[in-house]
């Protein structure tokens, strides 16, 4: 009964979405207020229906209702509750349901918080939002329905891939989707604005909070995925340029560019067409990312072709969404006249440089990710595009981005004083040079020296600007406190995000340049020195029972110069259902670096294969990424988004017809 209710709610949601997608759009053109308001009501109804469907599926998972095919294929009664719930989004059909659930959530948010929007813009944006819903709900109902029943009912399910049974990964997809789907808001606003033919500072101010929300979630989601890879895959890597990772990284790059260019529209009323294009691109990458991962096209072209109904629907949806919006853009973009002029040395220029390089990076990642596919289809032969390609393209593009990241905030809008900015950055330049030389002479790595120098430049430069704003000359304590409060939160947000980037660079440098790895066979009592730590294998306990696995659990004693540091318990697990082995690394972190231990198979002499690593500075990759996301959050609380658009700007708009 419950699955049928969910199924029925989904069908109802489709019809509500159809209504919401058409009538408000048509009626907005004629200025019919009642029909426009209907969009808001419809989005509430749709949220209720989609939530019902999502809840119904979750119910099936929690109660292990194996009469539902999808549950039987992916769940098991022995699975801990949290993974039963996480099971709701861990494969294709269900993750699509999570997608439209989040879309419904954003639609609800738009109708709740969109009270200060012009009614026609709001109606049109909600209408575009509903069009996306229609596409996705149709896709679910026609090609990947999660509510299909199974007869006869199996006694138990097939279980979930044990690699996915992990808290890090349980929450990774929802955050990623909150990011992907969040870009649909900016997209809907962009399409609505293109139809209305008006993009101005007020528009940018409405769109920016939604972009910040989406970008913050995406940043956090990617960081979480990377962290998961770091501690589960068992050799201390945290980024592999894997197509699945690239799929989430491309919308992030486009979103980062969008975040910066929308600032120019908001403050200076220029770069409008470009910003609109970026919103379309960011959302297109989100759609592409969702489907690249879920359709299996990346594994091989043939698996995609083996289920043509799904593949053709996906292609159709992509063509309609991306193609349609691009055509609309091509028609309307020439009418979007940019207002403000700016000099080469100006805040606008620094943001434009960020935009160009971020877009080139996103385009290159797309090319590298899809090239093996093209080569296969065009019969150019099988090609592998691996990490060396991406690193050699991505790193040179990011160097100027980081250099300008410290300069840009010091330049004023319109026409900046580049010489003055560079003068103020002198301490940063000196610190960077000193760091680079010390690193280079001590470790011999010229690349590591340059990278740490770059990070120092950004860190000191950003901190310097913060200090400059907080402590002008001759100032009392009261003045200082007043300053702390009056500096806009968006400035704090930017400072945090840029400092986060510096920390991430430090972490990446540490992990690539100074990682220590020891692989060997160890017997009980053997000690191996890793960096400055001594790791002693005390014992291995076989047959440790977990909720749905049996593990071999090792005990390592970690000491430094004879003093106790930590005890590590890496495990090698064998899951019951499906029966697959996993390695669970044990990590001891002191924030500066991680001691990372993995226990392998026993060998014939009674010893165990062990992999021991010291990963210096790696924690800073994740701490830095978290600070970047936090920066987005802080920026979101900026006063100007709470009080809305100042009246002066509204008064200057032409009267509504």
């Amino acid at each position: 009964m419950i699955p049928e209710i969910g199924h029925y709610a989904l069908i109802l949601a489709l019809f509500v979405a159809l209504t919401q997608a058409t009538f408000p759009m048509i009626r907005a053109a004629r200025g019919n207020r009642a029909w426009m308001d209907m969009a808001g009501t419809a989005s509430v109804a749709q949220f209720v229906l989609v939530t019902t469907a999502f809840g119904a599926l979750m119910w099936c998972y929690v109660t292990s209702d194996f009469s539902v095919l999808n549950v039987a294929q992916n769940s098991h009664t022995n699975k801990p509750l949290i993974y039963k719930i996480a099971g709701v989004w861990s494969n294709h059909e269900r993750s699509m349901l999570l997608w439209i659930f989040i879309l419904g959530l954003y639609g609800l948010a738009m109708s709740l918080f969109g009270g200060n929007l012009p009614p026609s813009l709001r109606a049109r944006a909600l209408s575009v939002q509903a069009m996306i819903s229609v596409g996705f709900i149709l896709f679910i109902l026609l090609t990947s329905n999660p509510f299909l029943r199974l007869d006869p009912v199996p006694t138990n399910g097939a279980g979930l891939n044990p690699l996915l049974q992990d808290p890090g990964l349980a929450f990774h997809p929802p955050f990623l989707y909150l990011g992907y789907v969040g870009f649909s808001m900016a997209f809907s606003f962009a399409i609505a604005a293109l139809i209305e033919g008006r993009v101005d500072a007020a528009w940018a101010r409405w769109v920016r909070p939604w972009t910040l929300v989406a970008w913050g979630f995406l940043t956090f989601g990617i960081a979480m995925g990377s962290w998961w890879a770091y501690y589960t895959l068992g050799w201390g890597g945290w980024w592999y340029w894997d197509p699945v990772e690239n799929a989430s990284f491309m919308p992030w790059l486009a979103g980062t560019a969008l975040l910066h260019s929308s600032l120019v529209v908001e403050r200076r009323d220029t770069l409008k067409a470009w910003t609109i294009l970026l919103t379309i691109v960011a959302f297109s990458f989100s759609l592409l990312g969702t489907f690249l991962v879920r359709s299996g096209v990346l594994t091989s072209v043939h698996s995609f072709a083996s289920d043509p109904s799904r593949g053709i629907f996906i292609l159709g949806l992509l063509v309609a969404a991306i193609g349609g919006s691009m055509v609309l853009f091509a028609i309307r973009a020439p009418s979007l006249k940019g207002g403000g002029l700016f000099a080469v040395a100006s805040r606008e220029s620094s943001l434009l440089l960020n935009n160009v390089l971020m877009s080139v990076a996103a385009g290159s990642v797309l090319l590298g990710t899809l090239y093996p596919l093209f080569a296969d289809v065009l019969k150019l032969g099988k090609v592998s595009v691996g990490p060396p390609f991406f690193n050699s393209v991505f790193v040179p593009l990011m160097v100027p981005v980081v250099i300008v990241m410290a300069i840009g905030p010091l330049l004023s809008w319109k026409r900046g004083d580049l010489k003055g900015a560079l003068r103020r950055l002198k301490p940063a330049a000196i610190a960077a040079a000193v760091t680079a030389i010390i690193t280079w002479s001590m470790s011999g790595g010229i690349g590591a020296g340059a990278a740490l120098g770059l990070a120092t430049w950004l860190f000191v430069g950003t901190m310097g600007e913060l200090a400059h704003r907080l402590f002008p000359m001759r100032m009392t304590a009261v003045d200082f406190l007043r300053r702390v409060i009056t500096i806009p939160r968006s400035f704090y947000g930017m400072t945090l995000a840029h400092l986060g980037v510096a920390l991430v660079i430090i972490g990446i440098t540490g992990s690539t340049a100074w990682k220590t790895e020891k692989v060997q066979v160890m017997h009980f009592g053997d000690t191996v020195k890793v960096a400055s730590y001594d790791l002693t294998l005390k014992g291995v306990e076989e047959g440790v029972k977990g909720p749905n696995y049996v593990a071999a659990r090792a005990t390592f004693l970690v000491t430094k110069n004879g003093t106790f540091v930590a005890e590590l318990h890496p495990e090698r697990r064998m899951y019951d259902m499906p029966p697959r082995p996993t390695t669970n690394a044990a990590i001891h972190t002191n924030v500066i670096g991680d001691i990372y231990a993995v226990i392998g198979d026993p060998d014939e002499s009674g010893g165990y294969v062990t992999r021991l690593y010291y990963n210096p500075l790696v924690p800073w990759i994740f701490i830095g990424a978290g600070i970047i996301a936090l920066g987005g959050l802080v920026s979101l609380t900026d006063r100007r988004y709470r009080i809305g658009v100042p009246l002066r700007k509204v008064a200057m708009q032409p009267p509504q017809s």
Partner: protein
Amino acid sequence: MKSRLAFLLILLLMPNAARAVQPNEMLADPQMELRAREISKDLRCLVCQNQSIDDSDAELAHDLRVLVRQRLQAGDSDAQVEEFLVARYGDYVLLTPPFKSSTVALWMGPPFFLMIGGLCAWVVYRRREDKATSSDKKLTPQERERLDAMMPVHLPTEQTEGKNAP
């Protein structure tokens, strides 16, 4: 023949779940082992999804790791080892795609994108320059009248606007 026998023996002795580099695969000479690791990082495990043989748990990856080390011990240079594997498995085995006719679009893509980006930025500045010169022209008397009506204090706005532009 002897090496092939040793190879088979290693295969038989291996537990079935091999995980990345195993101690018994490693060479005694640390210098040569380091070279082997570096080469391994650029070789694709052909049966995996986007993993190097250095990272992979697959049987095939193990075989290739052993093969790389055998070639090195036989006196091959790093390049010769890669050539040997490419001859066997094709370019697909290399994680860094070689620059040739089938990968021109791949390698030239990023510089091409950068050129387009640079061109776009150049157009933005040029258009702005045009606009800056065109905005130098005086306001029409009607516009001046409307502006005066809007602003209580007369400000020479058009001139500052013109000067500030590049």
